[in-house]
Point group: C2
Chain length 218, copies 2
């Protein structure tokens, strides 16, 4: 019953399939073959079929895949068929920006609380959510069945806060701090990293190496 050993590479692609299927759905497309989808997404049809077959046979020979069905099934695999309660820890610029992002709500990710250590922020509200102090966290997490904590704290404070959050019962951390939390947390806690500065460095690498490559041609 339990899926096991699905590779990270496959999981990484699932949300993109989900997005394309959502767009097809909106466009009123009813069925699609791996061949057609492969053209749109610029991946091989073989990869699409292999990826999907990690989770089951969603298609039908001679027909292809029903768009709505496949979209919903991938949604279920991704856990989008239920509500996930989140708190945001760190109500600085990024924390507030994420709290304002209504679009996560549509996929079932509901921000129920916003926390900070700075007393000046206490009571300030963002999109109707008041900023609370972190000492209220243990109770809040239990009462609101919070699964996910978004960490938008400076790296100096992130590790200890992550450990506290886990003590308080948080199951997953969406980590925006520039540090590797997974090395200090139990393995059964999910950590998903968004390292913006690293993303920017990769961009910079590509920019730089592209220029290097073409310098001689000028």
């Amino acid at each position: 019953m339990s899926e096991k050993g699905i590779s990270k590479a496959v999981i990484k692609r699932l949300p993109r399939y989900y997005r394309y299927l959502g767009e097809l759905l909106e466009a009123g497309v009813e069925r699609i073959s791996s061949g057609e989808l492969s053209e749109r997404m610029k991946v091989t049809a073989s990869q699409i079929r292999q990826d999907l077959n990690n989770f089951g046979g969603f298609g039908q020979q001679g027909y292809g895949y029903n768009v709505r069905y496949l979209h919903d099934e991938i949604g279920k695999i991704l856990g989008l068929n239920r509500i996930h309660n989140m708190v945001i820890i760190g109500a600085g610029n990024l924390g507030q920006a994420l709290a304002n992002y209504a679009s996560f709500e549509r996929s079932g990710f509901r921000t129920v609380g916003l926390f900070d250590v700075n007393p000046v922020l206490q009571g300030v509200t963002v999109r109707g959510i008041p900023i609370r102090m972190v000492d209220e966290l243990p109770e809040f997490i239990k009462e609101n069945k919070v699964e996910i904590a978004t960490l938008t704290l400076p790296k100096s404070r992130a590790k200890e806060m992550a450990q506290l959050l886990v003590e308080y019962g948080i199951r997953a951390i969406w980590n925006f701090a520039h540090t590797d939390l997974n090395l200090v947390l139990p393995r059964d806690v999910i950590v998903e990293n968004v390292h913006l500065s690293e993303s920017l460095m990769r961009l910079s690498y590509n920019l730089t190496s592209y220029e290097e490559k073409h310098k001689t041609n000028k």
Copy 2:
């Protein structure tokens, strides 16, 4: 002279090496072996040596790597040894949050302009940067030698804006819109994606599949 064919997997790891070396540097560590570094970073020593040797021999047999030297060399490889001028297109919550991020500045990424299509925002300033209207873009990009555009626009507007930016001379796009720009842009334009919603879905997948796996044990 020109590096070619460095795999994406390697490039993805470079910023992390850079971060660890920066921390060692701050901690006053002078030299480090691939073995020691491998323990800290939880990767194999072999991988570290292989990765680095894509770019040159930075170490010394019997000694290891000089921390400062290696840090600086990786910095150069990543293009962090010069200033990159950026504009942010889309001055909503996320755009403003990114404009407020002083820490990118320290790696040489300088936000010189902030643009939006909404006239209501015209003249509002964020961290001293006034929000401008997009019709000023062509001139602004040329005058300020802007290389990178950060796209924090709703997906409906992202593709056409990306195409305009490229016409205006932008060399790279840091894409926060939920859409695949690379499919509509020339191949020599660098696109680095930050798909927050996809990141959240991967987190949700891991959370869900972990629960599935342990459900039976209860």
